[in-house]
């Protein structure tokens, strides 16, 4: 049933030999391997399905087994713009408390980091992950760990808070310290604005922004990524 290797194919072995021409041990090896590979492939596909499908009877029952299998390397999420696409723009803004060289302190104005990302993405055919994902995802992760007082909770929360501080320092420290000032503390807030429904829709949605203000955070030497300065 095989016409042989064409000129374009990379030749691997003596593929013209039918299985039946092999010795018994060889056939046993191949038969066993075929069974094992088939079982492995089916288990893998079942795990992938249970991982991406909505939580159900089986996946609740076997959640430990499934997550042991899936995490960390097969983790995936295909809820792309689903069940509903995001319908709000969240702007992450930051300001700093500076110590001037003469010992007084002053507070900067708010800087809209998200708006800067937006400017970088505008008319850019190849947006970078630093512009499109870094701050956006960082903020999503941090805000998911904030408690009622807007304080990060748990080890993860602390990690994301530190991540955000470092992102802000990387982007802002040059501007804040250019007159010889030193950054003592920074503060984040988010401004969330709903995307107005399309013009043909009768829906009414408030276009008033909602603010979420986080506490002031101290800036230490360990909060400085490469490229940031704070004398």
């Amino acid at each position: 049933m095989r016409t042989g290797n064409g000129a374009g194919m990379q030749s691997y072995g003596d593929e013209t030999r039918p299985l039946a021409a092999l010795s018994l041990p060889s056939r046993i090896v191949i038969g066993t391997a075929a069974s094992a590979i088939a079982v492995a492939a089916l288990i893998h596909l079942a795990m992938m399905f249970l991982h991406v499908a909505p939580s159900n009877t089986l996946s609740k029952q076997q959640s430990g087994l499934i997550s042991d299998y899936v995490y960390p390397e097969y983790e995936q999420n295909w809820k792309l713009f689903a069940p509903n696409p995001l319908q709000q723009n969240t702007d992450v803004q930051v300001r700093a408390q500076l110590r001037t060289p003469d010992g007084t302190s002053r507070t900067t104005d708010w800087t809209d980091l998200t708006a800067r990302d937006g400017q970088a993405i505008l008319h850019n055919p190849l947006p970078s992950h630093t512009q499109q994902n870094q701050l956006r995802r960082g903020w999503e992760l941090l805000s998911s760990t904030l408690d009622a007082q807007n304080r990060p909770s748990g080890d993860r929360g602390e990690m994301f808070a530190r991540y955000l501080r470092r992102i802000a320092m990387l982007r802002m420290s040059g501007e804040w310290t250019k007159n010889g000032d030193r950054v003592a503390e920074i503060q984040f807030r988010s401004r969330t604005t709903a995307v107005l429904p399309p013009p043909w829709s009768a829906e009414k949605v408030s276009d008033k922004p909602v603010y979420r203000v986080l506490p002031w955070w101290q800036i230490t030497a360990s909060e400085l990524p490469e490229g940031a300065t704070n004398k």
């Binding site: 095989r2 039946a20 893998h44 295909w78 696409p85 399309p198």
Partner: protein
């Protein structure tokens, strides 16, 4: 009667064949024994998945596509590489270490916080992507490509998106496929070796490059292992439960050596057995890749159906008005200004995504949907500013492209290359387009008319 020789296209679909191969082959029946229909089907199925690595063009396309997408991404992020993956970026070495200590994902980047190590890994990731794309030492490069992808992505998992996720999964799957059968430097080398007049009694060439590469990688892995590098465990936290990365990497290394030795010293049955095992793995993973792509679309579609915006036909309007996903606001507003258009695209997206897995059973319908999905991803690339995500998804779609189309495309590309660079004519994929394998190779097997036909 014991050896039905079916026409290749009539073999059952591979979903069936792989399942039914659970049972050992029932081929060696004694003379008087009549096989039942099920046994014949099992025999046929087993013959189908052991005879050859199916879909050579489709697997070559996804190799080129995923390696190329990741290569372009790494080159695009070259100026930002420190910020995204470097030890002193916003997500610094200590945080990466803390994260990976918790989730046990593999990343060679936590082996050292030195800047030199990071630069070295980033450069090697670029080199492995380029060489995998070209198909030079394909199997080896696919392993290095996977290590590059996992190392960078696992270290900074919070800056990735859906495109990274697809590449992450596929980089692991590609390792077990024979994705260099066509359109690769390996295939060209094999073709040239076959064309060389055989000298009587002369041993095949020694392949010094391969031996050196194999020895160097073995040495590197041994050094990492002896240093107790993070992530290199034998029986835990690996690609499968109770199957560590050490076992996986050393296993691949040993199998490669065994394959070389069998080719050189045992060209008879041992080589056939090894070849059949590799073919089996290829075909199983090909099935996994195809089902995975279906899972992506199926879940993307099923979750959308539950959303009120996808139901009322306005969903597509919203992403185009998000600051992060509207690089061309003029264009977005133009498209988003027409309610009927928005509704058609919204409904069309859901219909295509939900329907796709089922259309695989009808070749014509499948091809129509493929065109629709590729067009949608092209527009996502521009409208939502997600070029690398779109390229990865288009590559994933390409595993279902018809062989005829791929060989035609290959012919056109090599024709174009012949006109642009005369004199390099003999090398490229064009030689593949004429001969037997296209028809036999990709149509025959399991997937017959529907999946890859």
């Amino acid at each position: 009667m014991t050896s039905p020789t079916p026409q290749p296209p009539t073999t059952p679909p591979s979903t069936g064949t792989v399942q039914t191969t659970d049972a050992p082959p029932a081929a060696d029946a004694p003379g008087a024994y009549r096989e039942t229909r099920i046994e014949r089907a099992i025999g046929r199925g087993l013959a189908g998945v052991t005879a050859r690595a199916l879909a050579p063009y489709q697997t070559a396309v996804i190799r080129i596509g995923f390696a190329g997408t990741w290569l372009l991404f790494l080159l695009r992020e070259w100026p930002h590489r420190q910020q995204l993956y470097g030890p002193a970026g916003p997500f610094d070495f200590g945080m990466a270490r803390q994260l990976l200590d918790g989730n046990h994902a593999l990343s060679v980047l936590v082996w050292s916080d030195g800047r030199g190590w990071f630069e070295c890994v980033y450069f090697l990731a670029i080199a492995a992507s380029a060489l995998l794309m070209l198909g030079w030492r394909t199997r080896t490069m696919s392993v290095l490509f996977m290590i590059g992808v996992l190392s960078l992505q696992n270290r900074s998992v919070f800056i990735g998106d859906g495109g990274d996720n697809v590449i992450h999964l596929m980089s692991m799957y590609l390792v077990l496929t024979r994705c260099g059968q066509v359109w690769s430097l390996d295939a060209r080398r094999a073709r040239r070796a076959a064309a060389r007049p055989a000298e009587d009694g002369a041993a095949p060439p020694r392949d010094v490059t391969g031996i050196v590469l194999w020895a160097a990688l073995g040495l590197a892995l041994a050094v990492a292992q002896l240093q107790g590098a993070a992530g290199l465990t034998w029986f835990g936290h690996g690609p499968f439960p109770h199957f560590g990365w050490s076992l996986a990497l050393w296993g691949l290394w040993a199998a490669h050596g065994l394959w070389w030795a069998a080719q050189r010293y045992a060209p008879g049955e041992p080589r056939t057995v090894l070849d059949t095992l590799a073919t089996l793995a290829h075909n199983a993973v090909l099935l996994v890749i195809m089902v995975e792509v279906c899972l992506v679309y199926a879940t993307a579609g099923w979750y959308k159906i539950q959303g009120s915006r996808w139901q009322d036909g306005t969903a597509v309007f919203y992403p185009m008005h998000l600051d992060y996903f509207s690089p061309w606001p003029g264009l977005s507003h133009l498209l988003g200004g027409n309610g009927l258009m928005v509704m058609l695209i919204t409904y069309g997206t859901v219909i295509v995504q939900v329907a796709f897995p089922f259309t695989l059973f009808n070749r014509r319908l499948k091809n129509v949907l493929l065109v629709a999905m590729i067009c949608e991803h092209l527009s996502i690339a521009v409208l939502l500013g997600l070029p690398f995500f779109s390229l990865a998804m288009i590559t994933a779609d390409a595993v279902f492209l018809p062989t005829n189309f791929l060989t035609w495309l290959g012919g056109r590309l090599s024709h174009l290359r012949g006109r642009l660079f005369p004199g390099t004519g003999t090398a490229g994929p064009e030689a593949a387009s004429g001969e037997g394998p296209p028809e036999g190779a990709a149509r025959s097997g399991g997937d017959g008319h529907t999946l890859v036909g």
